[in-house]
Point group: C2
């Protein structure tokens, strides 16, 4: 039975508390957060006093990247394994802790929306093998997809996620605006979007790239640029068209 | 009963033949294609002689955009309603035809993969109301989502689709390469990608943009840029980060 304290009351902290509280093989002892706020949908005891933090096997700091430096300086009295949950922050930000690690669920969370950890990949890292085992055990207890990644890999994964999620979402924003400007319901594009994603299940994206850029259909490209009125969108369209064409040369 | 001839033997032509052949309210009379090729998985009679094209109510030219000009010049002997299936080509490319229109399924097709038209949005346009009714009837007979869009709107939709599908797929390519370079399985990102798409069901993409760019997390942005080694990816990362930040200003 791994005894756990979770620190933080944000989106991820809340979902971790909910998931671990229910778990029969994990003992969630306590939550610590600065304001002493009750955790949404979770009955775990809460403290806001650093000196009242209970002894545990594992302390999970599910807090913002910027707050991690402060942890390193002000919580070094904690005994046991101390981990953070940041994708882009190296494990060594916890330099004052003897036993340290990272427990990174590769998903974005919203405390007001339910979540199932089953399908969320979790990447773990620890400064020694036995601590790695603890994190693996915890990760496997809530998720079917667990990876051991070092800080460099995790950071690369985080950059990749920016492209795959944040930048692709920005493309959807452009698409929605273009539709709106012409009185078209953005919904009309959703089956196409779903199809693009469905293809990824069995294909590398580089093998399923379609559209005027990759087939060098200059007539259509020109017509598209003439259609766009917003200079920012024209620039973006041209840049990405050129980038795709360079990529496939 | 609408009597139809489909012209072309490409991905869309093949799927239209298959879908209409089975249909009880549509009579698929014939396929015409230059090589006189049998249509994959479809028993429709085929000709490659323009003079042997059967009389029909509707002729659907499911051919490449570039070939449409040729149609306008060389098939003007056809009686009945003549439509093309191109998203980005105006209806008026068929200027030599008295009765003309467009029947545009907003999806990408591969003749070797099965397709269900039910969920594929179809946009129709016609030069008069009674022909529009014919196209609406045909569209509703195979799809649950049918729109009337004029050529300008359809072209805008096509540009929007380039952003939503082609450009977002290019983002997945970047993500996959970044993963690969660090020995990470791209699969780890798929739940995150699915989550990004799932959010679109109930939200405008502009309300669910996440990541370091929109939250102006310059520390993470700098770390990401340091992580990337490929100059093209660095340039893309910087450009899109700036574009997102300008957008939300």
């Amino acid at each position: 039975m791994i005894k756990v304290v979770i620190l933080g009351a944000g989106n991820l902290a809340t979902h971790l508390c909910i998931a671990l509280e229910k778990h029969t093989k994990i003992l969630l002892l306590q939550n610590f957060n600065r304001k002493g706020e009750k955790i949404l949908n979770c009955g775990v005891p809460v403290t806001n006093n650093p000196d009242e933090i209970t002894d545990a096997d594992l302390y999970i700091f599910a807090i913002s990247d910027n707050a991690l430096l402060d942890i390193n300086n002000n919580f070094s009295h904690l005994k046991g394994l101390v981990v953070h949950t940041s994708g882009s922050t190296p494990m060594d930000v916890l330099s004052n802790f003897n036993r340290k690690g990272v427990f990174y669920p590769a998903q974005s969370f919203n405390k007001h929306l339910p979540v199932s950890f089953d399908t969320i990949p979790i990447a773990v890292e620890a400064s020694n093998k036995s601590d790695q085992q603890i994190l693996l055990k915890l990760a496997h207890s809530i998720s079917t997809t667990v990876y051991v990644l070092n800080s460099e890999q995790r950071n690369a994964l985080h950059v990749a996620a920016v492209f795959a999620n944040n930048f692709s979402n920005f493309m959807y924003i452009q698409a929605e605006e273009i539709c709106k400007d012409s009185g078209i319901d953005f919904t009309i594009l959703k089956p196409l979007i779903n199809e693009t994603i469905a293809k990824l299940a069995n294909n590398s994206p580089r093998n399923v790239q379609t559209g005027p850029a990759v087939r060098k259909d200059n007539k259509t490209i020109e017509r598209h640029i003439t259609t766009l009125t917003d200079q920012k969108k024209i620039k973006l369209y041209q840049l990405l068209t050129t980038a795709i064409q360079n990529y496939y040369e």
